[in-house]
């Protein structure tokens, strides 16, 4: 009986040892949990064009990090095995907020409480970012917001969890007032959409013009959803301004250009915001783009770390050719890069430590320099390092070889005209007319 027991025990021991030692008998390897980063974006509705670009940038960043562990220009961050840290891949969860702040608030609640995301990216458009800032603050969620430029979101609010990645509106239209003053401009007319971002833009633009002694002879808002800009532009042109700006979003830039063309509007310079720098703008308005100006927050020709590689990656992953690049895609990529730097710096998904790093770090990204006001500042999280550019559509010059990354659409080249040290061409002033 004892022999039988011994045989049974030995047999059991052999089976157990074999179970653990023999190949294929080890317990299944635990699936690596992805790091979930969530956001809502305007994928439908008025801001959908920009929201789609932002999404492109986020997905390019996600693909790069999951493939090789770092995005363009951030090799120095370490962790060069696939995934963000510890081999964990990134899963970016994106919902459509329909360009609506109330929907954005609901979606951020869902992302944090139901999807249990580890971190958040900000949405596109200032109005939605402002609305969701209360949610991410309440749930203490580190958030890299790269689609909101309104300083009012951060100004005086002492936000503790959301940082601004892109330039604030104070940095939009750099040089318009400077160029106009040099050219002898005396008056300006500002027409803008009556929503958070364009209002904020109008305030800073007006301040820049008045600081240079240019009188703002007309400053008028128009409601969201306007379809014909001719009446308001007729009113603006009746004041005979030297500088005309600024609009609101993409359809506004197209509509205002068409209205200016129809009215044969005569001014020194026309400056539109958002969309007038996009290739689709040139396709929509054709030759009417001549000498139209727009702010730009990033260009492919900038000498930032990893810029060239980023252009290649967006072409490979998102199918976006370098000559058709547009800075809104880089917003999404920037959001990813900021989070990537902070997470790798901390080395774990420790929300408080990531938040502290986002508020303290001073780094160079593909987009440019990044630095925000510290946590103890009343305007904490407000971006202070990144500067804007001013671009103008100019005719393509025969025999000139343009650098890679310079946007060329048909016969039109997007030239940087300010700041002067980065300028690729002299500004065209006054507007050459419509004939």
């Amino acid at each position: 009986m004892k022999k039988v027991k011994l045989v049974l025990v030995l047999g059991l021991a052999v089976v157990l040892v074999a179970a653990f030692v023999l190949p294929g008998c080890a317990p299944p390897k635990e699936e690596v949990e992805p790091i979930k980063i969530g956001c809502s974006l305007a994928l439908t509705g008025k801001y959908s064009w920009t929201g789609e670009r932002y999404k492109e940038g986020l997905l390019v960043w996600q693909t790069q990090v999951n493939e090789r562990g770092y995005s363009s220009g951030l090799e120095w961050c370490g962790h060069t095995e696939p995934g963000l840290i510890d081999g964990r891949p990134v899963e970016v969860i994106i919902y459509d907020d329909k360009s609506d702040p109330a929907t954005g608030v609901k979606l951020y609640h869902k992302l944090i409480t139901e999807d249990k995301v580890d971190l958040c990216f900000g949405p596109y458009s200032s109005a939605i970012a402002k609305a969701i800032s209360t949610v991410v603050e309440r749930y203490e969620m580190p958030t890299a917001s790269c689609g909101a430029s309104d300083p009012g979101i951060w100004g005086g609010n002492n936000l503790q969890w959301m940082v601004q990645g892109m330039q604030p509106t104070d940095e939009y239209f750099p040089g318009v007032a400077d160029i106009a003053a040099k050219m002898g401009a005396k008056t300006a007319a500002i027409i803008h959409e009556d929503t958070a971002f364009p209002i904020s833009l109008m305030n800073s633009f007006r301040g820049q013009l008045e600081a240079k002694g240019i009188e703002v002879v007309l400053c008028e808002a128009y409601p969201k959803g306007i379809t014909d800009w001719t009446p308001i532009l007729t009113k603006a042109m009746a004041a005979k301004p030297d500088v005309v700006g600024i609009g609101g979003y993409e359809p506004d830039s197209i509509g205002l250009t068409k209205a200016a063309q129809a009215l044969k509007a005569d001014a020194g310079i026309f400056v539109w915001t958002v969309g007038a720098g996009a290739p689709t703008y040139v396709e929509a308005v054709g030759d009417a783009c001549y000498a139209m100006c727009c702010e730009s927050l990033w260009e492919g020709i900038l000498d930032t770390p990893g810029n060239e590689e980023y252009l290649e990656a967006t072409y490979r992953i998102a199918g976006l050719p370098p000559e058709k690049h547009e800075y809104h895609t880089t917003f999404g990529y920037l959001a990813g890069q900021l989070m990537e730097i902070a997470v790798k710096e901390v080395g774990a998904i420790d929300k408080e430590a990531i938040r502290d790093t986002l508020f303290e770090m001073e780094v160079e990204t593909v987009y440019g320099p990044y630095k925000v006001l510290p946590l103890d500042s009343p305007d904490s999280g407000f971006q202070t390092a990144s500067k804007g550019l001013l671009i103008q559509w100019q005719p393509k010059k025969v025999g000139v070889e343009y650098p890679p990354g310079q946007v060329i659409i048909g016969d039109w080249v997007k030239e940087v005209i300010y700041p002067y040290e980065l300028a690729t061409a002299e500004p065209i002033w006054p507007h050459p007319g419509w004939d």
């Binding site: 994928l43 379809t227 129809a262």
Partner: protein, 288 residues
Amino acid sequence: MELLIIALVEGILLGSVYGLGAMGLSLIFGIMRIINLVHGEFLMLGAFTCFWLWFLLGMNPIGATFVAMLVIAALAAFLYKVAIFRVVGKFPLLSRVLTFGLAIFLWNFSEFAFGSTFRSVNYPTGSIGFLGSYLSVNKIICFVVALIIAGVLFASLKWTRIGKALRAASQNPRVALISGINIHRIRLLSYAMGGALAGIAGGLIAIQWAIYPSIGQILILKCFAMVALGGLGSLPGALLGGVFLGIAESVGTMYWGATIAGVIAPLTVIAVFIFRPQGLWGVVERVD
């Protein structure tokens, strides 16, 4: 004074295109007694049809608007045959839910198919001088097209057999049926005509403005305001409602600002509902 005249003319040019779109909505309501919430998407699809014909085939944009008219008429007829006929004459909420569902589907389908990029037909035809300012030749062409379409519609309703049948079906469907009018065919025709009007108005919109898949949501609200102003079911009322809205937006922008101009039309609609519920050009319906 010159500014006022310019604003009035701009308003009429703008309002004629608005009115054309609203006439389709009014026609469908007048004959079928349904509120066609998919009408905004018909306008949007008309705009995109015109855009793609111009962009891909290089078609003349004005010619493309007429093709858009036919395409959207065919789409409307298809939708009628498949779904709309089931809710005509039924509990009104049914038609609203159905057309709302179709609108959401077409909107989302367009987002998927066309993407979210803003587009516009680039059709530079120049401008002509007018009281020290300029008027876009594009807008004048669109105004003429809108007038021709409206004129043809009014004439055909007044003098053709089909037009008389449409009016009879609108005034009293039962008597029309007893008189030998094929009421189902008339409803199909009216729904297709409503779609055709939206299609051509959409094409004219693509020539003048930036278009995007959600533009239908903005346009349908304007159409409702125009139809309410002009009187439900009244075609001249819808056209005049459009012109009123265009003038209100244009003159209001010039004198009180664009934001205030944006509330003139809704306020007028409220006032009309209080003081003249049948609309400015509508007639009171007898319940007996």
